[in-house]
């Protein structure tokens, strides 16, 4: 029936006929005028990149032979999140959701589309297409503020991000302990004391450490407090033995003395 109007079109059908989630004034055309989004390229969107600002938009589209990347920016940063998909053939998740992630791989939002709409990009020549904020700005309702309050994560020297539950583990002579609470603050103490058995520590993993056996006792007798072990010929109160143990020039001599009876 010509001119028929569906009173309650389904959500995705309704948005396909409008520029949503782009703002009504978006031109959808790249800076160089080479390419243009269709009004129905995206059906819905949701952005929650951590520390993102206002006026979120598609800042660039990088078209490669094997991968197409959509880059999202805001008023302060032209790359707050991105998502990629394969162009030939177009592959997107079954539910049409393109997963946006930030530079650390954290979820940053969702662009809802479908494979039929993504075919548009397969027709774009290989290259990088930049867009102005005015051209591709999204409506404000798609943005969920996610301020960078508190500690969002910890970066190591090689820029690896840890989130969730962080384990700080001491090793190789570094000892990390919780010292309780002080003035409402949890105290984590770090000591650097080395490894007493450093040779074993270094060599055992390579099977190059030979355990040592030290002399602690002789005939179950330990040394004195200075580590000295005393050999005596007999009880110190007895003087009728022929044995003599003497120390001459650093050599311990054991002698038998006396005269032969004939």
């Amino acid at each position: 029936m010509s001119g028929a109007r569906i009173l309650f079109p389904d959500f995705r059908d309704e948005q396909s006929a409008s520029k949503y989630p782009f703002i009504d004034s978006a031109t959808l055309t790249s800076e160089d005028g080479a390419v243009t989004f269709e009004p129905d390229t995206f059906i819905d969107a949701s952005f929650y990149a951590i520390n993102s600002g206002a006026h979120i938009y598609v800042s660039s589209v990088i078209v490669g032979a094997q991968k197409i990347t959509l880059v999202i920016g805001d008023e302060d940063n032209d790359n707050i999140a991105s998502t990629s998909f394969e162009p030939n053939p177009v592959r997107s998740p079954e539910n049409g959701a393109l997963n946006l992630v930030d530079g650390y791989g954290r979820p940053a939002g969702t662009l809802v589309t479908n494979e039929e709409n993504l075919v548009l990009f397969a027709g774009w020549p290989v290259g990088t297409y930049r867009f102005t904020q005015e051209a591709t700005e999204f409506v404000a309702t798609t943005s969920i503020p996610a301020q960078e309050s508190g500690v969002r994560g910890v970066l190591t020297g090689d820029d690896r991000l840890t989130t969730g539950d962080l384990w700080l583990i001491g090793d190789a002579g570094v000892v990390i302990r919780h010292e309780g609470e002080e003035n409402g603050k949890q105290i984590v103490r770090v000591d650097v004391v080395g490894v007493p058995l450093f040779n074993r520590f270094l060599c055992t993993p390579f099977e190059r450490f030979t355990p040592k056996n030290f002399v602690k006792t002789i005939n179950n007798c330990p040394p004195d407090e200075y580590g000295n072990f005393t050999l005596t010929a007999t009880n110190f109160e007895v003087d009728d033995t022929v044995l003599r143990i003497t120390n001459k020039d650093g050599i311990i001599f054991i002698d038998a003395i006396g005269r032969k009876v004939v």
Binding site: R12, V151, V188, G227, F229, G250
Partner: protein
């Protein structure tokens, strides 16, 4: 002519769920007019793999239960169950939180694995489908629109657990005990709130506010100065309050102390000590009895000094 509102629109379409042919025969669109969820830190939710769906609607007595389900690993066994009186007015909303997802004994989870809200519309059509106790199983016919989901996966640092790798332990050459893989000895779990790093022995901590950076390094005599306690303990620090040395040792790493070893005999110090036989005495160290010194009277003993 007044335009219908957002909820009015949704009474007559699948939203907030993805449209699927035939789904309206299972559940009237009027029942649910809006819904949204937040997937928590531990939910392991990935929008390209996981979905959220209305799994079933049950009637129990005078209330309806709406079961929201997900296949995200950290939340799949923790459905969100929304309750609504059968005579509830339209546009009522309810916010529900699941229990935390405790993956293992090391989990520090205290917040819900996921949470969400659900807004119901007029329930008279649903009441006709469920005039008495029963259940409508929807399976995965009512999948939530992906843009109605916010993921908090990887979004913040929740806690710090501190510990140390187990010590290398002293063993004798005859001890065949295998050291095995070194284990983590936990000192304190799930520390949260304001945290202060404190310099201990030889530790130097620098905080660079401009770069949002904390640098922890070793420097001789930095932090707490080495003291008598550290010296007496052989420079060892207990990994946990009640740590005690192994049997037969005064050190946490095991092994003897210097004054427990024989370092000299009759005042003659090592590393090489010679024991020699004098008049009438023979000191032997032969190959037949290794590691043994034999001290005996000589065969022609008592022959000298006649």
């Amino acid at each position: 002519m007044p335009r219908p509102g957002f909820y009015n629109d949704n009474e007559y379409r699948a939203y907030p769920f993805i449209f699927k042919p035939g789904q309206a025969n299972l559940l009237p669109y009027t029942a649910v007019v809006d819904c949204g969820v937040i997937m928590g830190l531990d939910s392991e939710f990935d929008v390209s793999q996981h979905v959220v769906w209305l799994n079933s609607v049950r009637r129990i007595g005078n209330s309806f239960k709406f079961d929201l389900q997900t296949n995200a690993p950290g939340a799949e066994n923790l459905p969100l169950v929304f309750s609504r009186a059968i005579d509830a007015e339209e546009w009522q909303s309810e916010y529900i939180e699941s229990a935390p997802y405790v993956k293992d004994a090391n989990s520090c989870a205290v917040e819900p694995a996921w949470s969400g809200f659900l807004v119901t519309g007029p329930l008279n059509e649903l009441l006709e489908l469920l005039p008495q106790d029963g259940e409508i199983s929807l399976e995965e016919n009512f999948v939530l629109e992906p843009a109605r989901i916010q993921s908090l996966v990887k979004s913040y640092l929740r806690s710090i657990t501190v510990g140390n790798m187990s010590r290398p332990m002293a063993r004798s050459a005859c001890d065949n005990t295998n050291d095995g893989a070194r284990a983590v000895i936990i000192n304190a779990r799930c520390i949260a709130g304001d945290i202060r790093f404190k310099e201990g022995y030889n530790a130097q901590i620098n905080q660079l506010n401009s770069a949002n950076e904390i640098n922890i390094t070793a420097a001789t005599d930095a932090g707490q100065r080495p003291d008598g306690d550290l010296c007496e303990n052989g420079s060892e620090i207990p990994f946990y309050p009640d740590e005690i040395p192994p049997a037969g040792s005064q050190f946490l790493s095991g092994g003897p102390a210097c004054d427990e070893l024989v370092s000299s005999i009759n005042g003659v110090q090592g590393p090489e000590i010679t024991i020699a036989g004098g008049t009438g005495v023979v000191v032997r160290a032969d190959a037949e009895t290794p590691n043994t010194i034999t001290i005996a009277l000589s065969e022609n003993n008592i022959s000298g000094n006649c």
